[in-house]
């Protein structure tokens, strides 16, 4: 029998496994994906948020613990567990060094992300390289890793996990350990559950990350009176290119051109101020906005003036010399579409266009005005990109304390169950999202959970 079983194979799970093994425990990792798909959502990440008192090799200036906490309060509107948030933030710098000492590397912020170079440490080669190095470290520590092992049920009796029921390539099996760490992510890839929680329209959502986060471990716990945090209908969704794959589209499917054009729905109508604020501050609301449109589709329209203003996209845009042709390519009713563009153009107030500031180019007198970067769409060729909501992750999770220990509904701590990562993120992120905190939470509470589980 192993001392510790870790469920999952993403960043949170591996930090927990490494930490438990370093405490002397024998550790087994159960990962539901095959080896080639390993790494969960963590393989798609690029950075983690790190407080630091002075510049490091990869982080510029200083980012104090207090400022990090204030940023968190801003995005969550105060909905956070202060004690846990301060642990995650307070240990973030230590964690950065902890990872580095164990063979995980960081790089300077990658081009196009200068705004994050002070607050976020970028993983060398991205999240997949990070996860690969974590797996190598786990191997060096003698940790056993079983792929294609999906935990289906936690057998919880008297606040203790007695065993795990696991789907393996050779059938269902039972696994036992002195302590269990759940690090199996959210339920964002479970379409059935998403439909239940988010409504019928969730069927048209794309999943930006792994197909393996089905939330079976979460469900099993919640079905056995483990205390929940967050609500099932909460999640992080952004607008992505409509042609992205159903799963694992990751970072490259984002479209940064919305502020430079207009967005119309499938009926050719605008529905929201495209120039409300800088894109990094607004991209997360567009998932919801597009989700509430008919068929959950939007179309960004730009003209050739704006084509080189944003990060290149992976998919070729629809391109046409006339608006009518573009409408046809995008499958939007021609007359309405042309009418929308004309009326938009007619209401554009000329200003001084500047993509780096909240400039004075805007429309006046429209039902939905565009408040910045509004320029006439009049210079062919015209381009169109289809938008769809892409889910990053869900917030529903389990409650933990400062030792990453899981609690029961009745307020009692479980005896041998710990959790970390996305499955506990809701403790700290009551709502909203602050870039890079997902990985910080997983790493910090992973290390804590590993330590705790090793000494049960």
């Amino acid at each position: 029998m192993y001392d510790v079983i870790v469920i999952g194979g993403g960043n949170a799970a591996l930090c927990a496994a490494i930490s438990a093994a370093e405490e002397g425990a024998s550790v087994l990792v159960l990962e539901s994906s095959p080896k080639l798909w390993r790494g969960g959502n963590s393989q798609h990440t690029r950075n983690m948020r790190v407080a630091h008192a002075a510049p490091t090799r990869c982080l510029t200036e200083c980012y104090s613990v207090e400022e990090f906490y204030e940023d968190l309060l801003k995005v969550t509107k105060g909905e956070t567990n202060e004690e846990l948030a301060k642990i995650a933030i307070g240990q973030s710098e230590e964690m950065y060094h902890w990872l580095e000492e164990r063979g995980m590397f960081f790089q300077k912020s990658i081009s196009g992300t200068l705004s994050l170079s002070r607050t976020n440490a970028f993983f060398y080669g991205g999240g997949k390289t990070l996860v690969n190095c974590e797996f190598q470290k786990a191997k060096d520590l003698g940790i056993t890793i079983l792929y294609n092992h999906e935990v289906e049920w936690l057998n919880i009796q008297n606040e203790r996990v007695e065993s795990l029921v696991v789907n393996t390539p050779t059938g269902k099996k039972e696994f036992k350990a002195k302590a269990i760490i759940a690090a199996s992510g959210g339920f964002e890839s479970n379409r059935e559950w998403l439909r239940e929680a988010w409504g019928e329209h969730a069927k048209n959502f794309l999943i930006r990350g792994t197909r393996f986060n089905e939330g079976k471990v979460l469900k099993s716990m919640l079905n056995q009176n483990v205390q929940a945090v967050g609500k099932p209908e909460q999640g992080h969704a952004v607008a992505v290119d409509g042609r992205a794959p159903l799963y694992d589209g990751g970072i490259v499917t984002r479209l940064d051109c919305v502020p430079f054009g207009i967005v119309v729905n499938k009926n050719g109508k605008r529905f929201y101020n495209e120039g409300e604020d800088f894109w990094p501050k607004r991209y997360a609301i567009w998932g919801r906005l597009v989700a509430s449109q008919p068929d959950q589709v939007g179309n960004v329209i730009i003209d050739s003036k704006s084509f080189n203003l944003f990060m290149p996209s992976v998919f070729e845009p629809c391109k046409a010399e006339t608006l009518e042709e573009l409408a046809e390519l995008l499958d939007i009713p021609k007359d309405e579409f042309v009418e929308t563009i004309h009326s938009y153009n007619a209401h554009v107030e000329e200003g001084t266009f500047n993509p780096d500031t909240l400039d004075n180019c805007c429309t006046k007198g429209l039902e939905v005005n565009k408040t910045h970067w509004a320029r006439k769409i009049d210079t062919p060729p015209f381009y169109g990109y289809t938008l769809r909501p892409g889910i990053t992750f869900t917030y529903l999770g389990v409650k933990i304390d400062k030792d990453a220990r899981v609690y029961m509904d009745n307020g009692n701590p479980t005896k041998n169950l710990f959790a970390t990562g996305e499955i506990v993120a809701g403790n700290i992120l009551g709502q909203g999202y602050l870039a890079g905190t997902g990985m910080t939470i997983g790493a910090v509470f992973g290390r804590i959970a590993g330590k705790g589980a090793a000494h049960v």
Binding site: W37, Q43, G126, N132, V252, R254, P312
Partner: protein
Amino acid sequence: MSKILSLKENMQVARRAMEICNACRYCESLCPVFPEITRFRTFSDHDLNYFANLCHNCKGCFHGCQYAPPHEFDLNIPKTLAEIRVESYSQYAYPKAFGKLFFKNGTLVSIIIAISLALVFIAGSLLNNADSFFSAYSGIGSFYHVIPIKLMSGISMLVCAYVAVAFFMGFKQFWLESGEKMSDLANVALWKSALSDMLSLRHLGGGDEGHGCTHMDDRYSQTRKWFHHATFYGFAMTIISTTIAAVYHYGFGWHAPYDMASLPVIFGTIGGIMIVIGTIGLSVIKVKMDPVPVAQQFLGMEYSFIALLFLVSFSGLALLFFREGIYMPLLLCIHLGFVLAFFLVLPYSKFVHALYRFGALLKYAKYKEH
């Protein structure tokens, strides 16, 4: 095994890959290729040839790519670039008609070895009778009993001149096609940067990060760098050894074989041993590495070059060891045969990676500041 793509298909695959990387950029610190990509929005065949030669084939961007197979984007950049790279060698080859040799490198090398060995043996036996071919010679000038010095040096000069012309023409084509001017080469700063990258194998060592590269699987280490260093500097030492020997011979009239404690022998021996170690190490890596990010169809080229380098060094060491005995003439002929073969195939072997990679580093030096 996956299907082998035509050059045109490969260019298309690479172009698509570059577009995806340009939207992703996670690999920006892995090597110079990724920061260079960000200068472009569209990619011509010449740009892709440049990237292919700028790639040092570490495979880090395969193991660390979330779009590698089984993902439907199916990115396999090291393999795609390796295929384009070999195609580019063949396009730059001089004379043009010999470019095809890159695709049949294993056969080419075996044939050239056979011919070279035969030629040296024929020469050896024409110039000696059966008795003297298996006799122990000793003392100054003993090698030249077997093959006269005039013949040896005459042929080597001819071959060297040929190699130099072929290299120059190939390099020129690479440089001009990549959009640079020959006059850019007057910029000393470019040479300094590229030379320092090459001599330190900076990128194989992990660039600024300094933790090495991946090679057999997804683990980062310096192993490949050290074996490459052994091969490279071992080769450099044998060249130094030969150069000193030539100076001794023509400058001072001191004739081979030289003392064990003489400079040519010391450099030659240490160099030879380093090459033997380096080539064995590099071969072991190739045998054990994950086959997926590798252009399997061109492995023959790599193995045959490494093998030839090994044979040259090993036969040289054997000759040194047994030079007083009756096998000296035999070993000398074998060694000279391998050396001749090595230089004959040089412009059509894996060796040219040094040439074009160096060119790519020169070009990279020009743009990296921006």
